[in-house]
Symmetry: C2
């Protein structure tokens, strides 16, 4: 039996090598950037007016002139105009190029306009005010975004700014999600008294979808030959297999043995944690990985978020941040196991407070309703005090 | 000019009435539940074994018996068996029904098995241990999930458990995202020196997509008649219009006037905030809403997250949580405006610390690279101290 830290480090040393995909910018949100994005010109590309008003030569104002003649209008989207007489001004609109021969903009709020003249009603004028200067944000050819970042809406806008209608991103692994267990029936069916519906694979697939990752679900019986043949075929067609069930010490828990037979070597079996102790992890000769999670619903769920999610992120080049939350009440857990405590969290004045949920002890999804995630309480200790911070693994949207 | 609080309350009093949609469970992650979900039977539906081992009658153990004969095996997925002789035990597998005539499970770790006999090697046995009792999580017909919650992976697993292959969710409004501004060109084009590419509508669409909300993009010129005709048509076909640009005081900012002409009444224009002061909001006779955001990229972005996102969530029945973050450095902002400060955040021992970014002052997306969201600093004050918590509006994935 290995520790949570050993299990995690081992998994993160068997990464998937992602393929490159080209997607349209509108499909790219949430994906991981796989190319460097550079500025195709200065940003902004010209001295840009940021307020509606007038543009003038600062020097003229500095010499005491306050009333000016409006010579012309510079609209946004027009080629740059030029101030003919340095004693005049040009009316300018937000987004327009700053006219040649001017360097400063004064907004309407500080003007009295009596066309074709204008008088400045504010003495607080600074050189270059209300001008967003060419290249102020970035110079042409400067790297704006580097590979390995998640594309959020702000980055997508930046892609649009530099004309990246198509963008290279890292592809997700082809992933099979496999449930085993003769007690499971499809969700459309009405179960017999001794059966339950298959819910774990739906939980895993939904968790994957929140990361833009797709999977295909399978259900295999607790019958060794059938299991073996099916898994052999799945291993050929997919990069990753996530199994739920069949790894305990039960008479019909064939997964570890079957895996060895189809060439997937055990890397570890059993982790000193609760829930999720029977967790099994293996790697095939060609480097494909198999996560065999315990069939208990909450174990399956916890193992996905604690191990598989960081594995995918790191495979795509993202170093996951460790979130922390503050235990809100004293808690005790004597066994020598890392305990993943079910908590609901509240943001209280910027502090993430984690409340243990007493009702959250059972292993079924019905109990996760009010739970926001797991607090990871270290194996070395058994008493945990209110006010201490621990790693927090959230699973809510 | 109205305050941020007034603007927000006004917007939240003009909600969209969502339509019901039925989606497959696998498409439901992130959607908002529109029906009550009840348990179709007890959860768990039977006394379920939670460890591999043996099941016995607790009373027999209590009377001192430690060595038993294994009578049969109860596998998961098998109809319930019955203990014939109360002095015997039945071998049981995780997920199986607890055999009739037994009440307690002892796991293999606490047993010495010498088939067909077994000896208990642990004296700490409790009645009903390792049994997840029928109905412990929920009783038949109990409401498990109520309308107005976002479906996270845990809820989707619960839907699967109770056989909801199809689920009713609230539909998003048909939404047009409209850019105006003659300086804007499509992202595929190479702009002339006085032009820039249209990025705001991509930012808005991407932000909407992170909420599962789809929009259609339009680009209209700064020409009043063309604007009017196009917007009139758009207003007929969509439930909501989000505009970017054309609401400042410039000569070509026709939006407010055009809106009145096509029957969209101004509810407010200008909010005492920076950025985003020229924000305009209107409502049509039939209750359709129009958000006209300033064209400055960061203003557009901030207004979406501060006003439009909560409006959608509340329309779908979700009361948005106010996140808070702790200012990490003193900050000063003298103007009498609510200031949306660009910050990067770090989780430090469970505290969300917000670092103002000095480079984040300009209005372009290029500056948002290291920014995680906006800290909302109230208008009434101009000095903000390190350690104080303020509302935080995150925009990162």
């Amino acid at each position: 039996m290995i520790s949570v830290q050993q299990a995690s480090a081992t998994i993160l040393s068997h990464l998937y090598k992602p393929a490159l995909e080209t997607v349209h910018i509108q499909e790219s949100v949430g994906k991981v950037l796989a190319e460097a994005i550079t500025a195709d010109r200065d940003l902004p590309p010209f001295h840009r007016v940021t307020m509606d008003g007038i543009a003038l030569r600062f020097e003229t104002w500095k010499l005491g002139k306050r009333k000016f003649r409006i010579e012309s209008i510079q609209a946004a989207g027009e080629p740059q105009k030029k101030l003919g007489d340095p004693e005049n001004v040009i009316e300018v609109m937000t987004g327009a190029m700053l006219p040649a021969g001017t360097d400063t903009v004064i907004r309407y709020e500080d003007l009295v306009v009596e066309s074709p003249h204008v008088t400045i009603a504010n003495d607080q004028i600074e050189l270059s005010q209300s001008v967003h200067r060419q290249g102020q944000d970035a110079k042409k050819d400067e790297v704006l975004l580097s590979p390995g970042i998640v594309l959020s809406p702000a980055e997508i806008a930046l892609l649009a700014s530099v004309g990246k209608a198509e963008v290279k991103v890292y592809g997700h692994p082809r992933t099979a999600i496999v449930a085993s267990g003769d007690e499971l029936v499809p969700i459309q069916d009405v179960p017999l008294p001794h059966q339950i519906r298959r819910s774990n694979t739906y939980a895993i697939e939904a968790a994957m979808r929140t990361m833009g990752w797709k999977g295909e679900q399978f259900h295999l019986p607790d019958e060794k030959t059938v299991l073996k043949n099916a898994l052999e075929k799945i291993l050929k067609e997919f990069d990753v297999i996530i199994l739920s069930g069949g790894v305990s010490q039960g008479k019909f828990d064939f997964i570890p043995a079957v895996m060895e037979e189809i060439g997937v070597k055990k890397v570890f079996h059993q982790v000193s944690q609760r829930p999720g102790k029977p967790f099994w992890f293996g790697v095939s000769a060609s480097g494909k990985v198999v996560f065999a999670l315990p069939g208990n619903p909450v174990s399956t769920f916890m193992c996905f978020y604690r191990y598989i999610k960081p594995w995918l992120l790191k495979s795509l080049g993202i170093e996951g941040k460790t979130e922390q939350a503050i235990l809100a009440k004293d808690f005790s857990f004597p066994p020598k196991l890392t305990y993943f405590l079910q908590v609901s969290v509240q943001n209280e004045n910027g502090k993430i407070m984690a409340y243990p949920d007493a009702g959250g002890g059972s292993g079924d999804f019905a109990n996760l309703k009010k739970i926001d995630g797991f607090l990871e309480l270290p194996l070395e200790r058994s008493e945990f005090k209110a006010g201490e911070a621990f790693p927090f693994i959230p699973f809510r949207l």
